[in-house]
Point group: C2
Chain length 235, copies 2
DNA sequence: ACCTTCAATCTGACTAGACAACTAGCCTTA
DNA sequence: TAAGGCTAGTTGTCTAGTCAGATTGAAGGT
């Protein structure tokens, strides 16, 4: 009937209650039978929602006791996750200086990793990201020109690239592969970031894919070491 | 009855068949009803095993068609995962030079992050890791001295620290928090790694925890940028 | 005051189904 | 030959339970 299954409804309800603070860390959630009767579903359906919340470390289950909202150690700053720059930094005072925005013939590395044909064009974005007004990272993004032709001139300084891609072209990024390394700042980037030439930067190369496996974005970023990546590792 | 639930048995059976190559990437697994009758369980139990394999990207499910072994793109090199140095590098020709091994009074940073009391001792390991004979990383590990007293003199050059901890003291690490940044090589590390002083290194700080949340290890590592980290990001 | 016992409650594991949505291949028909 | 329809098989969602194992708090006894 409904296009969205019940366990996703329950999942969303609980998650937004937790995010909004209606359920604080350490609080016990309603028991599985309680939720089942509240939503008029069977207990297995409730468990499907709770399984998902547990896998994302949003809740912790204790057999015999109950299900509790997890401590937000590094849970809410969701790393290991594909998000916008602002989400990754965990801050909101993010601004952008666009250094280049336009369509050019894709160089070889871009062609290969985005699966473009020879002489095909690509949109290039070169941005400097500022956190609380001071420069934190340089980001260079490459996208297939055919994917979003207007993007080469679109207003992007204000919002997030990923949100623009989704809202205006329906392109939803699903996952990404990234390699993290370190590199010495060249003259240009050193100038933009306000660091001495040759000083170390975090260098990330990322390829983001749509859910059907199509590569959508190749991005390089050079970040000042004062803004490290946080990650949680599982066994 | 059995201490190990059926869905874990099925999960393990399928996973080992895939790892052993009996089921190759792209192959279709037996259907859920087939597996259910083979194991003499209900379909929901089979699904519990398949859910886990799917979450780990070991298999892909296609509604109406079947469940297939996933392509091993970056699935088998499991990053975002807590593993030994050899596992992280994805290579086996790893050797170790021990630069320091012993128990010392824990400095403040170590005390705080491992939750030790003042004047409590900690075991310090300082190792240079070599891949195919050439130096790749410097690792400095701190562990509570009380956890594994003999560790300060244990033979560690050959094997993995994590395996030693588990096999000799039953300490099993469950998860870790890590911050990834970049730093310029100081004189000592530059010498060990064979790079110019001041050249950029990947700098990782990691705290590993047991399943009850006790911090077990604080580790710093400085890695040459030729050995980047690989990670897969989810939405 | 302290300990033990016990019953209620909770999550973990599992059953034996049902119907829906989708896929892929076969078969008929124009 | 090509298009369309049918059908068997597969995964997705969900039900209405059962029993086991763990926890918690209250009642009761010493």
């Amino acid at each position: 009937m409904s296009p969205v299954p019940m366990y996703e409804v329950i999942y969303g309800d609980l998650l937004s209650q937790i995010k909004a603070g209606a359920l604080a860390p350490g609080d016990r959630l309603p028991s599985e039978p309680t939720l089942a009767s509240q939503y008029g579903v069977s207990r297995m359906t409730v468990r499907q929602a709770l399984d998902q919340l547990e896998a994302e470390h949003v809740v912790v289950r204790r057999r015999g006791s109950g299900t509790y909202v997890a401590q937000p150690s590094s849970t809410y700053r969701r790393m290991n996750r594909l998000g916008s720059f602002g989400e990754e930094m965990g801050v909101s005072e993010v601004s952008t200086e666009m250094k280049f925005q336009g369509a050019v013939v894709a160089p070889d590395e871009v062609r290969t990793r985005l699966g473009l044909k020879p002489r095909q064009k690509a949109t290039r974005l070169l941005r400097v990201r500022l956190v609380s007004g001071s420069p934190a990272a340089v980001q260079e993004s490459w996208l297939p020109y055919s994917l979003a032709p207007q993007l080469a001139r679109e207003e992007l300084v204000g919002g997030s690239l990923y949100r623009t891609l989704f809202e205006r072209w329906g392109v939803k990024l699903k996952w990404a592969e990234q390699t993290i390394s370190a590199v010495a700042a060249d003259a240009e980037r050193a100038g933009w970031l306000g660091v001495p030439q040759g000083s170390p930067l975090i260098w990330i190369t990322r390829v983001a894919f749509a859910d059907d496996g199509t590569p959508i974005e190749l991005a390089h970023s050079w970040t000042r070491p004062e803004f490290p990546l946080l990650a949680r590792l599982e066994t």
